[in-house]
Symmetry: C2
Amino acid sequence: MSDARSAPVYGGESLLFLTDEQLRQGIEAMFFAYRGFTADPDRILAEMAYGRAHHRAIHFINRAPGTTVNNLLSILGVTKQSLNRVLRTLIADGLVESRVGTVDKRERHLFLTDAGRALETKLSDAQRARMRAAYKDAGPEAVAGFKQVLEAMMDTSMQRSYRNLKDGPT
Amino acid sequence: MSDARSAPVYGGESLLFLTDEQLRQGIEAMFFAYRGFTADPDRILAEMAYGRAHHRAIHFINRAPGTTVNNLLSILGVTKQSLNRVLRTLIADGLVESRVGTVDKRERHLFLTDAGRALETKLSDAQRARMRAAYKDAGPEAVAGFKQVLEAMMDTSMQRSYRNLKDGPT
DNA sequence: CAGTTTATGTCAGTCTTGTTGACATTCCAA
DNA sequence: TTGGAATGTCAACAAGACTGACATAAACTG
């Protein structure tokens, strides 16, 4: 499995793209690209007292307004205690509003305030600008491949979250 | 710039893939995929007293044996204090060897020991297995697009690091 | 050779963000 | 109605990032 010479086998098509060296390059590409991916919002967040965790919470609350803490938890993949600390500061700072559920009073439904939406836009704009440049640079076919590989890299539970957000819950 | 209706403009080809919604999907895909990307090594590392920082150091030392601390620093993009803490434990645990430079005695050249290489292989295998599955699933054309977009997402300094590792230093 | 720069390492302190444990509230079903 | 399950909160702690200050040794420069 870790054979550096892992034989490029030929079936219907060349499998040279599955050599360990190719895979290693993909791993390094992911590493470096993710740094670029987060760099711009990180710069903005650093000026305020916020971090990447705040960005993620804001992003997904914006994406699915009224979502519950539990739902957000499963999307973000952190513990509720960790998320709660972030939410507490966002609520205290008036960026997020937490409303007690009407049908189930244990649940809290989360919404961005106007100020929260303003920050979301600022962060999103920065991140999308880089994304747009990369997309434009690579072209639509490359983008299709990009998404295809990323989706195949996810756990099935994440694929479900991803598709739910993409297509809307069924 | 944050106009959700950002006009799909038509030039020589459709630019529908550059809508804010498409970019947002790409952002979320990166987020979820990166979790999958790190999940397997993280599980292994958690069993030992190590974290993702140790993995990164081990990966790049393996990739460029004899590299100096400073060089590793610029690849990883962390502070020397942060890297030093990680290296200290890896050296103490006998996974990494630090040799004083022969031509410049200020420099320390870093190498994996046999034990270090063994761990590297274990971590790499896990990560490559997922990568291989994703690649196989998506096919060679998608993989080409995947790499193209990732590379376009990097800062130029990271692109340089990435290409150096890929093609070997000129 | 003296002074400056470079490469590395260390100590101390802080911040973000993850963790576990304990607990309060609410809902639901036996 | 009572006990368990679900939801969310608070407290304490750990990993790993950061900055700043400083020490040492070697290399370079004028």
